[in-house]
Symmetry: C2
């Protein structure tokens, strides 16, 4: 155990690659596809990657293309992907916890740079329990609603409850309806539990764990938890108000809805950008402003060591504090009486700028792969893949193979890259043997 964990940064991509390969092979089985014959390789690869990386982007209609077996496969792959991400990211955070100050909070033990097998088991068990707890409750409510409100048979209602609950908590976003959840735009019994699942899954285990223990005492929260919780809430409110205002009169989205439905739909769609991926209105019909806003929210993403993607809330808000400190001429970056380590600041800038570079390169490559796609739509779809959101303006199924492969690569790097890079950095930091003379180029 200790040996494999000595190079955990290499372990994570390999584990995900293995899951994608096995998932692709299984999705290619004739039993997974409704029509006769096996699924083409690229379709299977795209779907398996999208499931394992909990993205939810689809090149085929999930509701009609896959058999029951295929949909169960999708559920399993999503669950494995979501659990894997949460577990690995949490364990890696623990491994570097000597520097993170996380270990003593999570494990109630002394700081130490190794992980005992018992610790690993205990963390994995708690994560599994947390996931199961949320998923069961949400499945019961949503399944119950399908049963009582829509006259589904008990079996079908249960399956639909489980499927969408797993998709929600794991922030994946596949749906068993051809138009995602557009048919339930005004139904709070469907929308709200799934929103709660998406938000809870997107908070991240370290924060969830701290909240379980200390929810009533915000003053004791770690800086990480504060940034995630208060940052997440403010972005949720900002996105909600903005989307509501921008789309209020759009005849193809919120326009035809009543006031209550408008609010529900705007809140749902807002929450889905970080990074649930369901939709109850047609995202492709959004105004340019709403698409741009959603793109920004998707890029920011959710909590660290969560099933959400993006550069993460902590990264975004930490950088905001860096800028504030810089504009005020303060030598230290201070958040709530805690000084943020300079190495952490450098990590945040690295994650954010690599994200910008990746999205820019991906958009460029996608535009090169086809002539049918606008810049705006390409940027949206690429950001959705990178941040493993799964929202779509509708262009993905029509992309050429090369374009779909670009999205596959983006989903994989977007999901695995930030964890791997982040932990590689934290674990491999070299000691400073000598220092060169300092120099200060003019910037700006």
């Amino acid at each position: 155990m200790r040996r494999t964990l000595q190079h955990p940064a290499r372990l994570v991509p390999l584990a995900f690659l293995g899951a994608v390969v096995i998932g692709t092979l299984l999705m290619m089985l004739p039993a997974a596809r409704v029509e006769p014959g096996g699924t083409p390789f690229v379709t299977a690869l795209f779907t398996a990657t999208s499931a394992v990386c909990v993205t939810g982007l689809a090149v085929v209609d999930t509701a009609t293309y896959w058999t029951g077996f295929g949909q169960v496969l999708l559920t399993v792959l999503t669950q494995i992907g979501g659990f894997g991400i949460m577990a690995m990211a949490t364990l890696l955070a623990l491994l570097v916890s000597q520097r993170l100050g996380l270990r003593s909070r999570l494990m109630a033990q002394a700081e130490d740079s190794s992980l005992r097998l018992g610790d690993v088991k205990s963390v994995l068990g708690r994560i599994a329990l947390t996931m199961a707890g949320f998923e069961v409750v949400i499945a019961v409510i949503v399944g119950g609603r399908f049963w009582l409100g829509y006259d589904y048979s008990v079996g079908k209602a249960a399956w639909y409850g489980v499927f969408h609950s797993v998709q929600a908590f794991n922030n994946a976003g596949f749906a068993l309806f051809s138009d995602s959840l557009v048919g339930f735009v005004g139904d709070p019994w469907i929308c709200l539990p799934l929103t709660i699942g998406v938000i809870a899954g997107g908070i991240g285990f370290p924060v969830l764990f701290e909240l379980f223990r200390e929810i009533g005492r915000p003053s004791t929260w770690s800086t990480h938890t504060r940034l995630t919780v208060w940052g997440g809430i403010s972005l949720l409110c900002f996105g909600f108000v903005s989307l509501l205002g921008l789309e209020w009169n759009n005849p193809d989205t919120l326009g035809p809805l009543g006031v209550g439905e408008k609010m529900l739909a705007a809140f749902f769609q807002d929450a889905m950008t970080r990074s649930g991926g369901f939709n109850t209105v047609d995202v492709g019909a959004f105004h340019s402003e709403s698409l741009a806003l959603s793109t920004a929210l998707m890029f920011i993403g959710g909590g660290s060591a969560s099933t959400a993607g993006g550069i993460k809330l902590t990264t975004f808000f930490l950088l905001a504090y860096v800028i504030l400190a810089e504009l005020r001429g303060e030598p230290d970056v201070v958040i709530g009486k805690r000084r943020i380590a300079e190495t952490t600041q450098r990590q945040a800038i690295t994650v954010a700028l690599l994200g910008v570079g990746l999205v820019a390169t991906g958009t460029f490559a996608l535009l090169e792969s086809t002539t049918n796609v606008s810049f705006e739509a390409a940027l949206f779809e690429v950001t959705s893949a990178f941040a493993t959101v799964g929202l779509s303006t509708g262009i993905t199924p029509g992309l050429p193979t090369s374009g779909q492969l670009i999205l596959v690569v983006l989903m994989f790097i977007g999901r695995v890259g930030t964890i791997a890079v982040g932990s590689a950095i934290a674990l491999n930091t070299r000691r400073r043997l000598y220092r060169y003379a300092e120099e200060r180029p003019i910037v700006g």
Copy 2:
């Protein structure tokens, strides 16, 4: 002198605001406009701001809207703006030179945190001499070409030479032809001198000064000069090859040209993105990929304390080194055996992210101001204004007043903001009285 320089960060925006106000009033004089009656306020404000901020974006046709008097005004405003930027940015760099290590290089004297009047005069004189030198040589070559190659009268050729030479070295980009320089796409005697003017003006005085003295000894160059020179050259090559490849067959841009002309036009257009603003091909007809690439190059911009805009070459490449160091797990950011100060890294982050935020907000606002503009075109125009480039897909003249005012604000902040913010930061850094306990949130 010392007194006004104690708050130089406040002086810069005020000086520019004053120049814009006076310029606007003068442009509104009936004598400046060909048609009877004075120029409308917004048109005069936009043009004066564009000239003083050396942007070159235009809401009216420079060639036919303005009288000779108006065009002379434009030249004077451009010259004042360009000189003002170079001078103020250089003086501010000197003021903070105790930290920059620039003073001993420029002034051959001991480091000191005040500026003597003699020093100021000497720096201003050298900048004026440098500008005049470049502008006269370029005006002679370009004017001579207009005279000998296009049968202009001596007087007209001289005026056209002076006008475009001033526009080139000051990186402004107004032209006395309705289609900018499209008529000269294959003429190296026009294109190359203007390109050299744009590049020289965009290098920045501190680097120009160092190059004058040490051009044969690159090993003695400061980190700032290295980043600017090598970074600038690599971006020039990258942009040239990319634009050439992307537009080679575009029937509306490079397609109809011969091989030599294609290369000249691609090089010219590449150099103009940082941030000359002339064009010899129709930028509005660029493929999406070329627009995206140009947008990125415009955002990066040219050298610090130069007539070019953008976040600057040093900012961009310094951040690239920060990421590299982070990925390699190195505790210090080292460029050529010099350690980059952590405060400088934080400045670079601040400049870059404020730039991203400003462009994003500006694009959003421009999309809100009108329904006729695509996201891609709005992003391009906003970046062009922020980075004071002046390239246009052609949407600016047709924008509503609110949209044009958004661009006015972006030009002003883009030009003045980076200098003011940069120096305010460098001058106002507070002393550290106590430090809070360190904390390291998880990022990514």
